[in-house]
Amino acid sequence: MSNTVVKHSELREALKRCPESAIEAAVAFQETKDPALVPPIVLGILERFVEPDVRPVIREGDDSTRLMDDLGIDSLLMVEIVILVEETLHISIENEELRNIRTLGDLKLYLDAKTRGLPPPESKNVLNFEQIAATLPQQPPFLFLQEARINGEYAEGSYHISGDEAFLEGHFKGNPVFPASLMIEALGQLAVLFLLKSGSVAQDGPEVDPASVYFVGGDGIRCHRVCRPHDTLQMKVRLKKVHEPLAQFEGSIFSNGSRVARAEEISLTFAVRAAGEEAGLRLR
């Protein structure tokens, strides 16, 4: 029996509960090292480890699918998945790198880079509070975004209501409720961040001028429940349409797993500037 056949049978044994398509892809990958085979392999491995009821979610292959919240993959299960992925693709994944992988899209991008022998994609799409504050024109105490992730067509962000916000003293007296208007503001800020960071307006070309972005309209806005101190707003905006000078988003807010608010449309106006113009703007 040839060495290749032994390797193939070991691989098949390791992947025995994965979908056949993933096993075939893994066998082919062993020969060709074709990075295009990585997504079917990885999705197949994921499918093997999740509960049957969420398998269709993986098959849909939406890059925004969250590994933990949508697929129920906890940290220990993730380790099992990583081990099998490592074994199949002959790579090693560092714990540090694992922390930045939260969605199917993250996982695909990361493994694509790995199998091509490229450095893992920088987690530039994950922004902490300092990075957000350095990007947005909005600043504390009027910045309602503490953490954000930009991904292709959408952005996610969160804001934890500390209870120390000055406006809660008056909204309302003895009954602190996070204002609905500020929830929409927070969604708008996330949309601004997306515009400034995603590159979906103009890749490698002119940039969105941060000083040019303003709110122009909202539509289909509904609030479903109130949020109070110690709730965390989990926000998501998705780009629907962009054509200078207008960008349209839809957005939603969840807290503790239940829907808080929804905006069918948030429109922003913006202007672009040529790359490198920034220094000049600052001087003015």
């Binding site: 480890f49 509960e51 906890d74 220990l76 299960l77 380790v79 099992e80 081990i83 090693s92």
Partner: protein, 421 residues
């Protein structure tokens, strides 16, 4: 003043059956669970018999390969954390909880605890350590430890049931689940808990059973119908078994208040240590005799009041003789009481599981008014002379039953149960 403790639920995953009524039938009619065990066919294995649990197969180190009864189901992350003994224990404990009529809230609250006994999983320990040595620690299952080490029962059962009261595992070899029962009794008697779930379990794998072949304490017999014969002159070693038995203990008034059916009263327990050898029992059974006396005093029962002793006797030459001496020391030789039998004639020896399994058999005997006979006994050992060893089960309702257990390290645990009311 100690509070009274009663038994309100039993659960079984044993070679005699997977439910109380099947087990009861086997005990009454002395039907054993021993078979010629296919994995022992290899000529290098000097042992051919074992007593598997019907409906379960856990030969593979991969839990996803196991078969088990359909009324058990696990999420994948739960399944991959299980040891075979935790699988059996889940089955037995759920059955005991259901039999006791407890809902989820009655199990998951600060006044209900869980004590367990298992030796961990030798098969999975070997599997995971072997893999670690071959491929390095980074490529090993993160749940390997949870599934393998002694403690696996607590790790798995506590979250599955939402246990909030006391939880601990007990390790004293073949006396382990007796210690779990005894200390669970104390938790309730001392007012620390109102209800205790107690479960003993043991893998049924070559890795658990065959190391005893190295000690030459397993029977080489090929005849399942006579192989395990405690107290018989021709006994030549024990038969290995595994599985799980669970018991629900409650404070008497709490059990009454919720209208629970009370199977028996748990009167008390005692323990002692031989202090002599790492594996061989004290030749005169001095330790076991002390444990019996301590237990009887704790239970406020005189030796003459005991109707039945479920002996530890495993069918090994030395162990059984030592227990005969201990029994004669405590109960005297001669007379009609107590009846003595070792139900290991039917089950073989279940190691960590044995003590609670036999305590549960004792509870069945009390509740269903019979005394299990000494199966397979043909020619009693001379040391057994003066002991009442009925060859058939007796249609006699025992009022007080004593269950003996002894383990490596000279640990002896004796539990005392009685008819309630």
């Amino acid at each position: 003043m100690l509070r009274r403790v009663v038994v309100t639920g039993l659960g079984f995953a044993t070679c005699l059956g997977r439910d109380a009524s099947t087990v009861l039938g086997a005990l009454r009619e002395l039907r054993h669970g021993i078979v010629l065990h296919e994995p022992f066919e290899d000529p290098s294995v000097p042992v051919k018999l074992a007593a598997p649990v019907p409906g379960f197969r856990t030969d593979s180190p991969d839990a996803e390969d196991w078969t088990f009864p359909e009324n058990l189901s696990f999420r994948l992350d739960q399944l991959r954390a299980l040891s075979p003994n935790a699988l059996y224990a889940t089955y037995a404990l759920r059955q005991a909880i259901e039999a006791a009529g407890l809902d989820a809230e009655a199990v998951s609250n600060p006044r209900t605890g869980l004590f367990t006994a298992s030796a961990g999983s030798a098969m999975l320990t070997h599997h995971h350590i072997d893999r670690m040595k071959r491929v390095g620690p980074s490529r090993c299952s993160p749940l390997g430890i949870v599934a393998s080490i002694a403690g696996t029962l607590n790790f798995n059962l506590v979250p599955a049931l939402g246990i909030q009261g006391a939880s601990a595992g007990f390790i004293s070899a073949c006396a382990s689940s007796g210690h779990a029962l005894g200390y669970a009794f104390d938790e309730i008697a001392l007012g620390r808990q109102d209800r205790m779930l107690v479960v003993g379990a043991e893998d049924f794998t070559p890795e658990t059973i065959l190391p005893f072949a190295s000690m030459r304490v397993l029977t080489p017999s090929r005849d399942p119908h006579t192989a395990s014969r405690p107290f018989d002159r021709g006994r030549d070693g024990f038969v290995g078994t595994g599985g799980s038995v669970a018991m629900v203990l409650e404070e008497e008034s709490a059990a009454r208040a919720r209208g629970a059916e009370i199977h028996a009263a748990f009167k008390g327990w005692g323990q002692s240590t031989d202090g002599t050898h790492m594996a061989i029992a004290h030749p005169e059974g001095a330790g076991l005799a002390r444990a019996m006396r301590t237990a009887l005093v704790a239970a406020a029962v005189e030796p003459y009041q005991v109707d039945y002793v479920n002996a530890h006797a495993t069918s090994t030459p030395m162990g059984d003789a030592s227990e005969c001496r201990a029994l004669k020391t405590v109960f005297g030789a001669g007379g009609e009481r107590p009846a003595v039998s070792s139900t290991k004639a039917l089950t073989g020896h279940a190691l960590s599981l044995s003590s609670i399994m036999e305590a549960a058999f004792s509870v069945l005997a009390i509740r269903h008014r019979f005394i299990p006979g000494a199966a397979h006994l043909v020619d009693p050992d001379p040391e057994a002379e003066g002991l009442f060893l009925p060859r058939e089960s007796l249609d006699k309702a025992p009022q007080v039953v004593v269950s003996n257990s002894s383990g490596f390290g000279g640990a002896n645990v004796v539990t005392v149960f009685a008819r309630h009311g």
